[in-house]
């Protein structure tokens, strides 16, 4: 999967490259607007990540230019200053999604994957890690052939963990991804939800009880055990 990142802040570009590389993406970066447009118009990318404020030519103008030139490559906007306004304008101009700075790289990776799945017509709607199979289309999780009944929140949480299998996610990171902005009823909401998922998996797969796929990382958060 090839990603074009048009971003003028070198340190942001650096960690985005590093982070996305860990998810198997090849990232090419470009720090100037006009060059970014040229590169994007030349094609060959699966996703384009566009910063809005760029020297030379701003992200919204690049997006408009690309769509006018008939380039349909999916675009995710990285908004900062006018998050809400850029979101409205960007989506009107033909952006596929947007993510507000400051963002988690894991979140960005999840958005890119979700976007690509959506555009590929959900051909890859099945996600399997270990003996857990998650189907986004049916919103169903099965373990060794048995369906596990999950609530929407539990399903979303499990999907987030499985997509980032092998990586530690903090509670705050999980909270923001699953529950959105500004929900903070108590510190243990994520823990309670994870306990419930673990219990449901253990009910189907008693062996999993000892070796639950969702590991607690002390003082950090949770990690979905990667398949050996």
């Amino acid at each position: 999967m090839k990603v074009l990142l048009v971003e003028d802040e070198a340190r942001i570009a650096d960690f985005v490259c590093a982070g996305l590389a860990g998810h198997g993406f090849t990232v090419e970066t470009c720090s100037e607007g006009n060059a970014g447009f040229e590169r994007a118009a030349a094609g060959g990318f699966d996703v384009i990540l566009l910063d809005i404020m760029l020297p030379g030519r701003d992200g919204l103008s690049i997006l408009a230019g690309l769509r006018a030139a008939g380039v349909g490559t999916p675009v995710i906007l990285l908004t900062a200053r006018n998050e809400l306004g850029d979101r409205v304008e960007g989506l009107n101009l033909g952006a596929d999604d947007y993510i507000a700075k400051p963002f988690y790289v894991e979140e960005l990776a999840a958005r890119i994957q979700a976007l690509l799945r959506r555009l590929s017509g959900d051909r890859n709607s099945r996600l399997q890690v270990g003996n857990l199979v998650l189907d986004r289309l049916d919103r169903q999780v099965t373990c060794m052939g048995h369906t596990i009944e999950l609530t929407t929140r539990e399903f979303n949480l499990l999907e987030y963990l499985m997509r980032s299998a092998g990586r530690v996610l903090t509670r705050k990171q999980i909270l923001e991804h699953v529950w959105g902005y500004d929900f903070d009823p108590s510190t243990n909401l994520v823990d309670v939800c994870i306990q419930r998922i673990r219990r449901k998996i253990a009910f189907i797969d008693p062996a999993g009880d000892a070796a639950t796929p969702i590991e607690s990382v002390r003082g950090v958060g949770y990690r979905f055990r990667q398949a050996p």
């Binding site: 982070g19 409205v88 507000a100 903090t170 705050k172 990171q173 929900f183």
Partner: protein, 467 residues
Amino acid sequence: MNKPAPSFRLRMFLVTALIVSTVLVCVAVVAGSTFYAYEVRRLDSRLCAEAWRLVSRPPPPGDEARFAADVAGKLRVRPTDQLLLSSEGDGGGGVLKYGPWPGVLALDQLDWSDVQASGPPRTCSVAPLVTAGTEWRVARIADAASRGLVAADLASIRGELWDALKRIAAIAAPIALLLTGLGAWLLSWLALRPVNRLRDAMKSVDERALDQRLPTEREAREFRELIASYNGMLERLEAAFNQASRFSADAAHELKTPLTILRGQIEQAIPLAEASGLQVSLAEMLDEVGRLASISRKLLLLSQADAGRLALLRTRVDLGAMLNERVADAQMLGLDATFAADIGDGLLIEADEQLVGQVLNNVLGNAIRYTPAGGRISVKARATPTGVEVVLRNSVRHVSQVDRARFFERFYRGDAARSREADGHGLGLSLSRVIAHAHGGDLVLMPSADTEVELRLTLPKHGPPTP
């Protein structure tokens, strides 16, 4: 508190009435005295004429009463007590004395003045005479042979004058009052018209329209100055407001790039620091960066909302489903509080899903966090003719009236929330209300007991028509 000043119209009326009545009284005094002097002069000549008659053709003895009645009729006085006659001389009539003459008469000491009398060249002179409480006017005709005196009580013409004044006043006063009222009303209307216009224009200016200016072209010079100074004030306000708004937007924005870098680098470092004590510190740092990011995002949104630029992405949103999801979260937490939810059907509105979700997250999150063990939380949502109403009630330890008044203030936290446990930023409620306003709805704190908080969120079914 000061008592409000009486109405401007009323004051205008009173002042006008005072002026008009002063003028009326002056006119009445001047006219009355002029008229009185004229009447006295007329009386003088009539007295002289009667004196002449008395001297030239005195009544025969025994006929004085008839004569006196005749004279009284011509002078328009009562013959019994308002007329004095006296004559003596060679006319053959001898001495005549009629009426209540005083005992001693020092005629030569009176202030005589001559009157040109008709008839043969005998001089007639008149003088004021005061006897026991009565003012008389005396006319005297005297020559070598005879002498005649006629006096009339001045009370008669005074009475006539007074009656005339009363008649005039009876007609004039209501007319004057009416004219005064009309005049005062007209004056105050004229004076207030530009002020009213100004007031209406000022009312239409709110925080979202500080760029409005009032037109000065068609106003009178005096009001032009007033409007100009009001416009000047608006201009300064706008500049200060824009500066403050831009400042917090700029500050929040400037924070975003370093925050993005921090967050990304810490996030990347966590897996590398596996199995070392550093990982825990990094995770804590990541959470703190998250807190900073959340504050700067809220500040940015608030400053955009203050400037009236909260861009909404309206879609069809099922508020009922959103509420149910959060209610399920609360139930999942297994709270030590009674939780009651009554979510109606058909709560479909056109709204910005992300922002409305944030509002619900904030108010429900607060309710769950601040409800003490054994308390109650209730969520009621129903469709109204214009949109949706959500009423959220929860028990709290104690929220004073002072705290309530500052509930929506930025960076304000009640006593209960001041602990580090409660991870609010004191911006959530303020931002929630601003989001509700941007949708054309509202978020209000309802009055309730000190140990309960009731919030009412209203959102319209449709957004306002886009201009």
